[in-house]
Symmetry: C2
Subunit: 211 residues, 2 copies
């Protein structure tokens, strides 16, 4: 396992160097199955249309269901099927990025496999990670799955429209998140009502401007 991670880190460092040379920012978006990553991307892409050049890399076990959804937004999508594998790794990203004209791009968004555990262990060479946590998953998840929240610069507490129908305690979740990771940026979002999406997109845009 240490060897696998070591080899992965070497290629992640190469990826990071290449992305920097070409001035493209890469976000690794993670979260449980059904936390709302793909819908969040659809909403994010709709707000960025024509402003910036984006490619989405979709990680899935077998299907291209998410890639087909993203394609409808008019953004180029590359599908990686892991054939049952529980996470993306740096060699997969290196391989698909070799075919991209990176100079023509501002942002690559990698939607990782739906999994709150394994993706956090594999550096892809991204500039930053973000994690989507659905309100319906419960406020105990940051402490139960700490690594992914420690590794992520931003967390989206998603589906806040469902707050009235759950026992999710926002204050408790915020406390746990900042205990684990004091500088983590916390967004409260809903792709049903649109809540928080402008703030999230503005933050993402700022990350691009800071290049």
């Amino acid at each position: 396992m240490r060897n696998i991670l070591g080899a992965n880190d070497d290629i992640a460092a190469q990826n990071r160097k290449v992305f920097a040379e070409h001035g493209v920012i890469v976000m690794n978006l993670m979260g449980s199955p059904g936390s709302g990553k793909t819908t969040l991307l659809e909403q994010t892409l709709a707000r960025f249309a024509d402003k910036i050049k984006i490619v989405v890399i979709e990680g899935d076990l077998f299907t291209a269901k998410d890639a087909e959804r993203i394609e409808k937004s008019g953004v180029d999508v590359i599908q990686i099927n892991t054939a049952g594998g529980c996470h993306l790794d740096a060699p997969m990203i290196q391989k698909v990025c070799a075919s991209l004209d990176l100079d023509a791009l501002d942002l690559i968004i990698v939607e990782n496999v739906g999994n709150l555990v394994c993706p956090a262990e594999f550096d892809l060479g991204e500039n930053f990670k973000a994690v989507v946590l659905s309100i319906t998953e419960g406020d105990d998840k940051p402490l139960k799955y700490p690594l992914i929240f420690k590794e992520s610069e931003a967390v989206l507490l998603n589906k806040v429209d469902l707050l009235p129908f759950t026992n999710f305690n926002l204050e408790s979740a915020r406390n746990d998140l900042t205990t684990l990771h004091p500088t983590i940026k916390i967004f409260e979002t809903s792709c049903t009502t649109g809540a928080g999406l402008e703030t999230w997109c503005a933050w993402l845009l700022k990350k691009l401007e800071a290049r």
Copy 2:
């Protein structure tokens, strides 16, 4: 990887033999983080109190949060912390079961690590697997994460009280599930309203009577 799975399968077979010799039924309960596994167990145990002798084995990365919840129901709990590992395996189960008086037990419920991918690959020596899928995770999940649904004898479509607030299509989910696994038993449950819980518990009790 093949070696790891091979070694795991050997010990799983030993576990299965031991469980059969002592007449104890073992259920491996799986599902995404926040699908509602622990709450379902709380509700299930409450309905089984005094009827049958149960031990719960709780798999978590680091914390004992779920075990503490189950303990309140008066049922014995054993905590396995995987130290970041994304699934339980057969040696972990073998180790903790060595300290149990299996003859005194009817049922062992193993709550696996919250993960819709990796736990499905590791046989624990259980009699059967069941998977919890929350309505809020979306109806596309069976086809996106097929192995866990192929491996499970039962699926609980959980949190059906949230159906009116989501775009989950029950018919589509049922079709996909039975396409993947024609004999899978499908329950529609809610631990908020209690819907489907009696049917689920009756099925579980029948599994015990069939010993």
